[in-house]
């Protein structure tokens, strides 16, 4: 249940009202995502402006909730500077409102191509929440932790006289190669 949707349900019965409200959501979300993506890449406004072939003062104006003069061309240049694809879609009002309500640093972060999990490994969790972030230091630590846990469990079930792969069909290290893939899923 969304407290915001409940509040907006009667207000959105008015066409002019809902379009004005959604437009403000769009402006707010674009400006916020540009800032989040820039900070995710540890770029300054000057660096990003230079990569996107624009002046820093212009970028500064765009990184503000009250900016509304977006053009697809400008957004394409920013996408290129972030090494991201630009996606422009038409959405239902409910999706816009829920996205806006759930907006956070994490939900707006996106991996550049080099950190895009789908292009790094053949077997990967394709869940959107994971794909959005890509690999983080926390994911790598989780991966290492999970590998250790699997090794530990392997020792627990190991028979005393066990040498290598025995008749049980289990080898403590057999899943080690798969642990990297498994941890990718856990990280999501």
């Amino acid at each position: 249940m969304s407290e915001l949707v409940d509040k907006l349900r009667p207000e959105f019965q008015d066409e002019e009202y809902r379009h004005a409200y959604a437009e403000e959501c769009l402006n707010t979300m674009i400006a916020t995502q540009i800032k989040v993506l820039r900070e995710q890449r540890e770029m300054t406004q000057s660096t990003l402006a230079s990569c996107a072939e624009m002046l820093q003062p212009r970028l500064s104006v765009m990184e503000s909730a009250d900016y509304s003069s977006w053009s697809v061309n400008t957004l394409k240049r920013l996408a290129r500077a972030f090494d991201l694809a630009l996606s422009v879609k038409f959405e239902a009002f409910s999706d816009v409102v829920l996205d806006f309500e759930e907006m956070s640093r994490d939900s707006l972060s996106r991996p550049s191509f080099n950190d895009d999990p789908l292009f790094r490994s053949a077997k990967v969790n394709t869940h959107r929440s994971f794909r959005r972030r890509g690999y983080s230091e926390a994911d790598r630590q989780t991966a290492q932790g999970l590998q250790m846990e699997i090794r530990f469990l392997g020792q627990l079930v190991e028979f005393p006289n066990h040498t290598s792969r025995d008749n049980s069909g289990y080898s403590p290290n057999q899943d080690r190669g798969g642990a990297d893939e498994a941890c990718v899923g856990v990280a999501g």
Binding site: S2, E3, L4, A20, E23, E24, T28, A31, E63, F100
Partner: protein, 130 residues
């Protein structure tokens, strides 16, 4: 998601909730933009959305910049209670030709904030005008 920040309206002892009265006089489209900005502040606070609060040049008084045919400049302060996750809407204003209407609006808002600090009963939970 529940609102993290509470929004209040300043209440004048004689004229009542001036911010609500100002909101009620706005066109529908302007009211929608204002409500979206106030929802942004209530849900996300001042930390996530860049430029959601702009300084006015008067200490502790901020403005929301809402563009359109009419430039809305609602004036507000954080708190003013210490450590509370709240904002108080003090005064509804416009910006016309780089000047506030009413003239000197940030100073008026600062005086309202002082009154509120002296008497915390001079505010109510924000009364939204749909």
């Amino acid at each position: 998601m529940l609102a993290k920040w509470t929004i209040f309206d300043y209440v004048d002892p004689v004229d009542g909730n001036l911010f609500m009265q100002w909101s009620a006089r706005l066109q529908k489209k302007e009211r929608a933009k204002l409500n979206q900005r106030l929802d942004s502040l209530a849900i996300h606070g001042p930390g996530l959305i860049p430029g959601i609060l702009s300084p006015t040049g008067t200490p502790s008084i901020f403005k929301l910049k809402i563009h359109g045919k009419v430039q809305l400049r609602p004036l507000l302060c954080e708190g003013p209670g210490r450590g509370e996750d709240a904002f108080t809407l003090l005064l509804g204003a416009f910006e016309i030709s780089n000047d506030y209407v009413p003239k000197g609006a940030p100073l008026m808002a600062a005086r309202m904030r002082e009154c509120l600090i002296k008497d915390v009963r001079r505010r109510v939970l924000h009364e939204r005008v749909s």
